[in-house]
Symmetry: C2
Subunit: 467 residues, 2 copies
């Protein structure tokens, strides 16, 4: 077989690429029904991705035409896979009965996500048509603050009583299962809707029919609180590896559940935010790179660049005050970028490790002394190793006086040590006072260590070269 | 109530902290059985975390004593939650029957992870005692390459025939369910063990008993190939949000499944690797920051620092060749750090966005032109905005001649544009030629843009100041 080494996944991607090319061609010829048939050969995730590609290549109109041409039940699944921006754009074009149908069929948590972004007059119109109990429930959910467990959860879970038998439970699941976000974990509540235990479908399926649920449920389950930030909920999932986590209010009443598939999105979102902040980008508002306008990109980048640039007004001042000395030994200027660069890189390394360590829960604020002591020892070894090589280069390759080499090398050791101390301590300090540690990464480090590198360098030059 | 605003999660963390303090005190007094009782008030995840804390605070011996004092069934669950390093250290201390019991009770994929790290003489001893069929299976799994779907998967899944009825299926699940990694997704195989469909327990529970599995199974399921890298498997999970994904061989025979809880660990691992590489740290071999020795830290940091430092030999050369001009207008030195810093930061922003965009699948290599065109436009706006402010500062605050200001500002615009082009193109180029794009982030950008900034600066100075 020729394609023996081709993995099915690669084949799947190829199939995707071939279909999308075909669809682009068909759309050029305005053959919409052929397009629809091509789309329907794929699952809802891929159809949604194709619609986004179509919008990027052509326009929103063509995307909506194709979306409306999908069979109703499939269109809802596809809708759920689109980004909120695309969802809102579609809703602004389609008719009211279409909107109602979609919102009705969506999972509760997906519906709330859409409603949150709609203008209030449309929301009111939708709420007016909903049954009273549903309306109250929607209103409660719309009030949870963004990025909280409350905003993430769904109220569609299976609840059991502790006196239920396994048989009762399984029958109950058969009755209401289709409307639940998950049936794999069921929640045992007391009369006041307080959460007293959880039981997995696995345990139910493997137990004799007459066993009371109370005998096989797990008490004191891990829970999230409705006001918890989504980052805390995410940490619970990565820590425990559960499929769903119950969300309770102040009275420990069960108000909803968060499922692992929603958490995968949160992880991607939070990681992107962290990485972008570490790279000096502030707030891209969850939009994809290619979907952001030039102006939105400028807004996400200019403020931080400007702030950091201002810090160089100080760096410039430092140089100015040493201008006299520099003019005497101009060769010192040659090694300035290296010192600043190495200082920045050393600081970046430390801050990256600490920021990531705190994000994964490896490093606690109480590890302060352990971290600083480790960084100092690492810095001494690294600083001396780098200086050693530099000394020979400056004296034997650049033919500069040994005292200049000594100035550069002693500064290098000091700069690496100071940079690593600051690089490790600043993120911890930021966390302590409630600032996102991710802001204390590379770009910030570079600005701070540049000042320190130059000051150290000039002080050492003054001491060793008598200038 | 005084603690009305305290979330149960916070209370849980407090409970953890209180217990660990109590255990530390009890261990000082060598009251091991009291310690064990305290541990047993928590679940296996927390007990494992406590054992790690005990090892950090005291030593491996005390950790192992407590581990052995746990009831056998709990000790296996705790063992599964420990890091491979801790697992191996424990195995090297406990007796052969204890090892056998643990390996026997562990999930198959966890057992393989442990066996992979054990010295071969111990593995041979263990294999000698295993039944022949089991031995063959273990040997197959030990051969999958690290970080592949094969190494990640477990062979413990539920397989059905397409002629089974729902009733047959549910009975089969009751029989073998306890030994399966998940019962929530079942796999339908033909006689040759080829995968022909998947069916969820949800669909089974909600269908009439006499329905054939063939009627409710999903055909053409999303699959991973046994040789796929774990990063590709991870992408499938984030794309589709499934609980488990089947793994097939070249003949499309089902060889195992990967479950979402294992993927959460992979995501954390891969993200950490990406972030660390972006921060200039190479290969921390999955160890936690605090568990790495000073020497291991040096090994992870020195090579990259050294390489980047060497790039500054070139930067130094550039300055040297312009030394004559610099001595004429020494005030140019004042603005060097600002230009280099802003260039580095601009490049970092672009490379961060592109690296992350490629990691999440938002940006394709084929988006080359769209990306470069967007970056150029953003760079022009940002560069001009920053220069504008600078011009006034240099002329009116620093009282330098307008021509010096013009030199700095025109260089600034050029540097920002070049930095953003390089910052966006270099990661894409790296991916194209098979290098990890994450290496093209901050530290690398800083080194490259420093050279470009200085060259641009000196060329502009030559043109405008006639030096």
């Amino acid at each position: 077989m020729g394609n023996e080494n081709l993995s099915p996944v690669v084949e799947m991607d190829q199939a995707y690429d071939e279909t999308i090319e075909k669809i682009f061609d068909l759309l050029e010829e305005k053959k919409y029904f052929h397009c629809r048939d091509e789309l329907l050969k794929h699952n809802e995730v891929e159809i949604a991705e194709m619609l986004v590609d179509i919008r990027r290549k052509f326009d929103l109109q063509r995307m909506v035409v194709l979306f409306r041409a999908l069979p109703k039940d499939i269109s809802v699944d596809v809708f759920a896979e689109l980004s909120v921006d695309d969802q809102i754009d579609i809703i602004n074009i389609i008719t009211d009965p279409e909107i109602e149908y979609i919102l009705d069929e969506l999972d509760f948590d997906d519906m709330i996500d859409v409603l949150e972004e709609l203008p209030s007059n449309i929301v009111d119109k939708i709420l007016a048509k909903a049954p009273k109990s549903e309306r109250a429930r929607i209103n409660t959910f719309l009030k949870y603050k963004e990025d909280s467990a409350g905003a993430l959860m769904t109220p569609e879970y299976i609840n059991l009583k502790k006196t239920d038998t396994v048989k009762d439970a399984l029958e109950h699941i058969r009755e209401v299962g289709l409307d639940s976000e998950t049936i794999y974990t069921c929640y045992v509540l007391d009369r006041g809707r307080k959460l007293i235990g959880v039981v997995s479908l696995r345990a139910l399926v493997n137990a004799p029919y007459d066993t009371p649920v109370a005998d096989i449920m797990v008490e004191d389950p891990v829970v999230a609180h409705v006001d918890d930030d989504q980052e805390e909920v995410m940490d619970l999932f990565t820590r425990y590896g559960y499929l769903a986590i119950p969300v309770v209010d102040n009275e420990f009443r069960l108000v909803g559940i968060v499922t692992v598939d929603d958490i995968l999105d949160v992880i991607e979102e939070e990681t992107t935010e962290d990485i972008e902040r570490m790279g000096g980008i502030i707030d891209t508002s969850d939009k994809e790179y290619l979907d952001m306008s030039v102006w939105q990109h400028v807004k996400a980048r200019l403020p931080w660049l400007f702030l950091l640039m201002c810090s160089y007004f100080i760096t410039g001042g430092i140089i100015q005050s040493f201008q006299e000395s520099l003019s005497q030994v101009l060769s010192l200027v040659i090694y300035m970028p290296m010192l600043m660069g190495t200082g920045g890189n050393s600081g970046s390394q430390s801050s990256t490790l600490i920021i990531r360590g705190m994000a994964t829960g490896e490093i606690d604020l109480s590890d302060y002394f352990k971290v600083i002591w480790k960084e100092i020892r690492v810095a001494v070894v690294v600083g001396i190793a780098l200086s050693f090589i530099n000394y020979f280069r400056i004296v034997f390759l650049d033919h500069n006086p040994p005292l200049v080499a000594l100035t550069v090398c002693s500064s290098m050791v000091l700069v690496v040590i100071i940079a690593k101390i600051i690089g490790s301590m600043l993120p911890m300090l930021a966390k302590k006072i409630g600032i996102d540690p991710a802001l204390m990464a590379g770009p910030m480090m570079a600005s701070i260590t540049d000042m320190i590198s130059l000051s150290t360098y000039f002080i050492m030059a003054g001491l060793l070269l008598n200038i």
